[in-house]
């Protein structure tokens, strides 16, 4: 049986902004299996950070439910048990007048049972983190590295990274990916990271959730997602336009382009049986899948708004 590091059910968070309501998270169903590297992908203000803050007990759900290792992070004493098992790198790294060295010492004293000095040293060396510069003088990338060093050395059961690549140069980013794979996945530990940088996440994640306007558009094992999507370019007469497998259709001068979102082989076979010619059949990268899903979801939203107008 799969156990889940994080699970949400119809989770919602609404902020009041004057007399306007903002639905930051809007009926979210998320399933993060324990032991996975889970990438939560979404555009700016898709609701990623709000979701993470609710997992950390830093924000209270308006409705619905969120569980971390089966516990509710919004109420004591469960929250304490949850927080003891999470390493967290927040998106806004406001760390005032400390130095990275002092921040590491502080975190070390919070997690005496799991903290590893060896691992802290390794991260500092690999990411080339200056230890004795005050945070107000550190670059964005070095602030990110300090937070990462603390969270990785803590060796938590669940590592939550909110936009962990902010300000990192390509070398530091590559080292980070290696550290995450090498030192943060053993013994069934889970990494949950949010990002809109897709390429690097596509490499290390095995589970993906694509989020848009507070909801999940798509979730599952990355390999399954990859094999369900396909771009077909087809010529022929009387091509089908309604089929659950079709995500979108584009008419080109001499051909029709389908973006398929499920069982592409069966769909292609049907076309061929009905006399159509498949000119091209290409797998899609995660980036292309993400763009198509967000565009399609925006288009259907726009349709709905027009109906009301």
């Amino acid at each position: 049986m799969t156990t889940f590091a994080i699970q949400t059910d119809a989770l919602a968070k609404t902020y009041g902004l004057g007399n306007k309501k903002v639905h930051a998270v809007d009926g979210l169903n998320l399933n993060v299996p324990e032991g996975s590297i889970y990438g939560l992908l979404g555009r700016n203000s898709a609701g990623k950070t709000t979701t993470i803050r609710m997992a950390m007990g830093l924000a209270r759900p308006t409705s619905g439910e969120i569980k971390v290792f089966g516990l509710n992070p919004a109420v004591d004493p469960e929250r304490v048990t949850v927080l003891r098992q999470i390493g967290y790198v927040p998106e806004d790294k406001m760390l005032a007048a400390l130095t990275p060295r002092k921040l590491l010492e502080l975190n070390r004293s919070f997690y005496p049972d799991t903290w590893s000095d060896d691992l802290a040293r390794k991260v500092i060396k690999r990411l080339e983190l200056p230890l004795d510069t005050a945070f107000m003088k550190l670059s964005l990338g070095n602030k990110t590295k300090s937070a990462l060093a603390c969270a990785i050395a803590q060796r938590s059961r669940l590592l939550i990274l909110d936009e962990p690549t902010t300000g990192l140069d390509p070398i530091a980013l590559d080292e980070l990916l290696r550290l995450l794979v090498e030192d943060c996945t053993a013994d069934g530990r889970t990494i949950f990271l949010s990002t809109h940088q897709l390429a690097e996440i596509e490499q290390i994640a095995d589970h993906i959730g694509i989020m848009d306007r507070g909801r999940i558009l798509l979730e599952g094992p990355l390999d399954d997602i990859r094999s369900s999507f396909r771009r077909l370019t087809v010529t022929g007469a009387a091509l089908p336009t309604t089929n659950p497998a079709i995500l979108s259709i584009k008419q080109q001068p001499h051909a029709t382009q389908y973006i398929l979102q499920s069982s592409p082989e069966a769909f292609a076979q049907d076309l061929a049986v009905n006399g159509a010619t498949i000119v091209e059949s290409d797998p899609m990268s995660l980036n292309e899948i993400f763009l198509e899903l967000c565009r399609t979801s925006e288009a259907s939203e726009a349709d709905r708004e027009e109906e009301f107008a």
């Binding site: 590297i37 996945t185 053993a186 990859r226 990268s285 995660l286």
Partner: protein
């Protein structure tokens, strides 16, 4: 030395890319029976990919009898001599049929004649045999060029 490469944007699942490259290395003689493979975690860290993905590729290869894992002792290329003759011909055909079908579909979409397709397959088999011959006459056991 086995050097694996991953293209994340190719759309081909990463575990399949790994399986194909290891099979290719064995077929061309770059890896030989009894050669050790790097550990799952080492491979994952070197390639910056998910350890579960590497484990999945290794499990599939092991199920096919291409590699074998010694508990606590690492992973090795299995002896092909013991594998291939041991399989029933029906099983060998079952494994290769999907690839043959796909090849036939692609070729007919490109309107390539059966003769040309046969020639292409013969050439590929020849290349593989040639590469295996050069490597087995190579005196160095690692056969690294």
């Amino acid at each position: 030395m086995l050097s694996l490469r991953i293209s994340a944007s190719s759309g081909v699942p990463v575990y399949l890319q790994l399986e194909q490259q290891i099979k290719q290395a064995i077929a061309s003689g770059l890896l030989r029976s009894g050669d050790p493979l790097p550990s799952t975690r080492r491979t994952a860290a070197d390639l910056r990919i998910n350890p579960n993905t590497v484990a999945r590729a290794f499990q599939n290869l092991e199920r096919e009898g291409i590699i074998r894992t010694v508990p606590g002792g690492g992973t090795f290329v299995a002896s092909l001599a013991s594998l291939a003759p041991g399989l029933l011909k029906a099983e060998k055909l079952r494994r290769i049929r999907p690839i043959a079908e796909q090849l036939a579909v692609e070729a007919s979409q490109l309107q390539l004649s059966p003769t040309d397709l046969h020639k292409l397959l013969d050439a590929a088999l020849n290349d593989l045999a040639k590469s295996r011959r050069t490597r087995s006459s190579d005196p160095a056991p690692e056969g690294d060029q």
